[in-house]
């Protein structure tokens, strides 16, 4: 059975994974609010979802 939680790669929080997740499904970590992507199943592995880096130059 797939895990119902998976560790967030950024802040190590336990991220709830919906039942029967699919590859590259998008999730958001409640703790650090980073957008995550399902990279592997059984067990579920999460990684940061690709994001265009906003230019915030000061």
């Amino acid at each position: 059975m797939t895990a119902s939680y998976a560790p967030c790669p950024v802040c190590d929080a336990e991220v709830p994974v919906p039942p029967n997740p699919v590859l590259s499904e998008l999730l958001v970590c409640e703790s650090c609010s980073v957008a995550l992507e399902v990279r592997a199943l059984d067990p579920v592995v999460l990684d940061e979802a690709p994001q265009e880096e906003e230019d915030w130059g000061q």
């Binding site: 703790s31 650090c32 994001q51 906003e54």
Partner: protein, 348 residues
């Protein structure tokens, strides 16, 4: 269940005004007395314009004070201790927003506040008012010394690191950037608008009084020294503390995340803010104007190992009246967030 009767001594100042505002919508309590020697007899709205048409209360004189359930003291530093004799018996519970009873060590007062404490015997009976640190003690106490605004931000930023032994006992540098309302309602040559506007002014590079209560509360594993500097910025409300910690051992981001989540994950008034995108990635005061929330965030410099911890809050609310009401709620068994739900404004 009848509402609890609350009194405010020194209600014409900014923290007094915020207490009046917060209690406008408190489900369990109402303000029945708001003293001000200077404005006695006048409606509270004449001094606090946001209360016009919202409160029918008028200021009364302190000598007309009648016993009530809870009393908030908003007198200047150095004026509360001498008045303790007369004021403490007035209410079952007393919350002091001045610095007069924050420090446990009587000897600290001459050193940091320039006066010998007139009632050292009372110092041990006041609990230091940061619920996130002393929730159980506050619940069972009758007298709370509400923490200072800069101290609240710096302590909430650093406490987890000192408790875990990651922060060293010396060498931590903290800069607080503060607004003009920290100086209170009394005007002066330095608060004159043409002089104060657009300032970026190093007004206390060393010797900031709040350093005493910060070092008192962070001495979890023995005495500590924290090096505090304050810079005034062109704002009225809000403060941002930026702390520079040189960890005692190697740490990584995940460990810091776990540490702060364990410390504050369930706290209603501390929000961990360390984002990747958008305008508000780290704690920022203006988002918190009027709220009782303290935002805490961090960034680890992988190259040097320096851990930068940031904390932002509204110096008049979580750094003053809001934290006082949070303690008040705990002391009376009310929901901790009663009266403190305002989420803040965006954009401001």
């Amino acid at each position: 269940m009848a509402k609890l009767r609350v009194g405010i001594v020194g209600a014409s100042g900014y923290t007094g005004g915020e207490l009046l505002r917060i209690f406008l919508h408190h489900p369990n309590a109402e303000v029945v007395q708001a003293t001000s020697e200077h404005h006695a007899g006048r409606g509270v709205g004449t001094v606090h314009p946001n209360l016009r048409g919202r409160s029918s209360l008028s200021f009364s004189r302190r000598d007309a004070l009648a016993p009530c359930d809870a009393l908030f003291l908003c007198l200047p530093h150095g004026e509360t201790a001498p008045a303790a004799e007369a004021l403490l018996p007035m209410a079952g519970r007393v919350l002091d927003l001045s610095a007069d009873f924050r420090l446990r060590d009587p000897a600290a007062y001459p050193r940091w506040y320039g006066f010998g404490h007139p009632r050292p015997d009372l110092l041990g009976r006041f609990v230091y008012g940061i619920p996130e640190l002393h929730r159980d003690q506050i619940r069972s106490s009758r007298m709370v010394a509400v923490a200072g605004c800069n101290a609240t931000a710096v302590i909430l930023a650093l406490h987890p690191l000192f408790a875990e032994g990651i922060a060293p006992s010396d060498g931590t540098v903290v800069e607080v950037k503060v607004g003009s309302s920290e100086g209170g309602a009394a005007f002066s040559v330095s608060s004159h608008h043409p002089e104060r506007a657009h300032c970026l002014r190093s007004y206390r590079p060393t010797g900031h009084r709040h350093q005493a209560e910060i070092e008192q509360e962070l001495a979890v594993r023995g005495p500590v020294r924290v090096h505090l500097s304050a810079t005034a910025v062109d704002e009225v409300r809000g403060l941002l503390a930026t702390a520079h910690v040189f960890p005692t051992r190697a740490v990584d981001e995940k460990e810091i995340w776990r540490l702060y989540r364990r410390a504050y994950g369930e706290e209603p008034f501390v929000r961990i803010v360390k984002g990747r995108d958008g305008n508000y990635r780290y704690p920022e005061p203006k988002v918190l104007w009027g709220t009782n929330t303290c935002e805490v965030g961090f960034e680890l410099d992988a190259a040097s190992g320096r851990l930068v911890v940031m904390a932002a809050l509204d110096n008049l609310v979580k750094g003053g009246a809001g934290q006082a009401v949070q303690c008040f709620n705990l002391m009376h068994g009310f929901p901790e967030a009663a009266g403190l739900e305002f989420p803040g404004l965006h954009p401001v």
